[in-house]
């Protein structure tokens, strides 16, 4: 794991990100053998005279087709992007110098990060109480709440963005209501607030699911213990529950921030010339101006920012709550 500190936490992220698993996990919970039993199984299997056939070294080869697809369709294309950013039109770092010297580009880069931060904050404020409620309500209510997260999660992002175009446009739902009650219409589409609103709604499930999956594992008896020792409900919640839920918060925040940085469809459809984000700039350089070097350099900046953030956030996302649950 030392070689790839950046992607490992995403592995624990990934199961809430694939929400079918969320429900499937719940289905399977009853069948899950406890850890001790599973450890025993592993030992049994390793020492069994009947199962020497699939040795670990042989098993690795089963990943070969997947690795091959990744090399062809991920590593090679990214390699081309990096190479062109240093070689098109001439070998050197001209494209990067251009990128960081241009005031427009710096503004867009800064705007991309600011928008990502706002979207992450807005998602967090909406998601934390929602995820908490999911853990304390009854089963039918929980299914309803899960449904409200999963439907938008799996519905095509283009369709959800279309809905926001209809809502935010000058002749849209929000402005018709405002006109209806005698207020002056506001400009929402092709503005930065419009982009932030749309992105927040589209990305909200990515924040709710990781937080919920961590909160689900928190032992609420810890809160009772704190209460019985004289802590007020709010104090018990803030000092016991919130810290235990932080790995989920970090995981949700980092995935939303990263997805926001690279978001393309929603800002492209809801945004205007004054709210262009980095992804649209990359697309514009490559498809409209055919400038692969400059587009590539922007892409590499985006890519590096993503992986640096992952590397920084990786240690924060490790789930500490499981150990404390065992102790409890």
């Amino acid at each position: 794991m030392r070689f790839f500190p950046a992607t490992e936490p995403i592995a624990c992220l990934a199961s809430p990100v694939a929400p079918g698993l969320l429900s499937k996990r719940e289905m399977m919970m009853t069948a899950t053998p406890d850890d001790g039993q599973r450890a025993g199984t592993a030992v049994d299997a390793a020492h069994s005279p009947f199962l020497p056939r699939l040795r670990p070294r042989g098993a690795v080869w089963l990943t070969a087709p997947a690795v091959l697809v990744l090399l062809v369709a991920l590593a090679y294309p990214l390699g081309i992007v990096v190479w062109r950013s240093f070689s098109d039109p001439a070998i050197g770092i001209d494209n990067y110098v251009w990128f960081f010297q241009s005031a427009v580009n710096r503004t867009v880069l800064q705007r991309t990060f600011v928008v990502a931060a706002w979207v992450t904050l807005a998602c967090l404020i909406c998601a934390y109480p929602y995820a908490y409620a999911m853990t304390i309500v009854g089963r039918n209510m929980r299914l309803a709440l899960i449904l409200c997260v999963l439907v938008p999660f799996w519905l095509s992002g283009v369709v959800r963005t279309l809905a926001w175009v209809i809502l935010l446009q000058d002749s849209g739902v929000i402005n018709s209501i405002l006109r209806g009650i005698g207020l002056s219409p506001v400009k929402l589409i092709r503005t930065l607030p419009g982009v932030v609103i749309g992105m927040t709604q589209v990305l909200l499930p990515f924040m709710i699911l990781p937080i919920y999956s961590v909160m689900k594992g928190i032992d609420t008896r810890l809160l009772q213990a704190a209460r019985s020792l004289g802590a007020r409900p709010w104090k018990a919640f803030l000092q016991i529950y919130v810290p235990l839920s932080l790995p989920g918060v970090y995981a949700g925040a980092i995935i939303v921030f990263i997805l926001s940085l690279g978001f393309y469809i929603t800002p492209a459809l809801l945004g205007g010339p004054r709210s262009i984000l980095l992804s649209s700039l990359v697309q514009n350089q490559v498809l409209s101006l055919l400038n692969w070097g400059r587009g590539g350099a922007m892409g590499v900046v985006l890519l590096v920012a993503t992986f640096v953030l992952l590397a920084i956030a990786a240690p924060l996302m490790r789930q500490k709550h499981t150990s404390s649950r065992r102790e409890a």
Partner: protein, 261 residues
């Protein structure tokens, strides 16, 4: 009588639930609009945009293209991803973890960066606008979802069952076919569903590698939104919304039933 903070929490959650679901519902009234416009409120009532979706070649071919690509991707990615899941969970812990981290990187690479890279490669290899090109790119994007789904099943799978079967004389293939596969089937099937949806909804890479001769449904929706205010997109959106909701409700109900038995 619930306490005041509880009521506050309930109200807040109701608002968040509305925020999650309600905006999307706006496509439903728009899809029955009598006018060729996406302006609110819709005027009159008509089924013409649904008719248009099922009769206009632009929409029907892009829909069938998406379906074909997504079905092939579901099959290919499920096979490759399931093999990889076995490799990852049966390899030595260190190697397995490393491989897993490597195989799920497609989930975090910014879409546009990936798209321009794939577009550059496809331009050189004449894969732009081909089914092969779409399938290759979408398979790469779908593998992580299959890997995670199948691995979750393998984690709760008791390997002593395999030992038992082989001790009774079953060959390796027989063990896999009659013991392992039936037990991990829920994971494999949900992996296949994830792969299908990943491909069916994918847009960023599709926007770059599309051609006038091969468009997928999301590309057609996107170009329609940017080009004109044609309510057919709202009709498509409504149909996709209904299909997605039905699949998820079915999945949740199925999960509930299994939990009970």
């Amino acid at each position: 009588m619930p306490s005041f903070p509880r009521i506050l929490l309930g109200l807040f959650c109701l608002l968040v639930a509305i925020l999650l679901l309600a905006p999307t519902l706006v496509v439903i009234p728009m899809s029955f609009n009598g006018n060729k416009s996406l302006a609110f409120p819709p005027v009159g009532f008509s089924w013409q945009w649904y008719e248009n979706f099922f009769s206009s070649p632009d929409w029907t071919t892009s829909f069938s293209n998406s379906l074909i690509v997504a079905i092939i991707v579901a099959v290919v990615a499920t096979v490759i991803g399931t093999l990889a899941a076995f490799g990852v969970s049966r390899a030595a812990a260190r190697t397995g973890g490393l491989l897993r981290a490597l195989l799920i990187t497609p989930m975090v690479v910014p879409g546009v960066v990936l798209a321009i890279g794939i577009y550059a490669v496809y331009l050189d290899t004449h894969l732009v606008g081909t089914v092969t090109g779409f399938v290759l790119a979408h398979t790469m994007l779908a593998i992580p979802f299959v890997l995670i789904a199948v691995q979750a099943s393998l984690e709760v799978f008791d390997r002593r069952l395999e030992t038992a079967a082989s001790s009774l004389g079953a060959g390796r293939l027989t063990v896999f076919r009659t013991v392992t596969l039936p037990l991990i089937l829920p994971g494999v099937l949900s992996g296949a569903l994830f792969a299908f949806i990943t491909s069916f909804d994918e847009i960023i890479v599709a926007l770059f590698i599309t051609s006038p001769y091969l468009k997928t449904l999301p590309v057609q929706i996107y170009t329609s939104i940017t080009r004109d205010a044609d309510p057919t997109v709202a009709a498509v959106g409504t149909l996709l919304f209904l299909a997605t909701s039905l699949i998820i409700i079915a999945g949740l109900l199925l999960g509930m039933r299994r939990e009970r038995t």
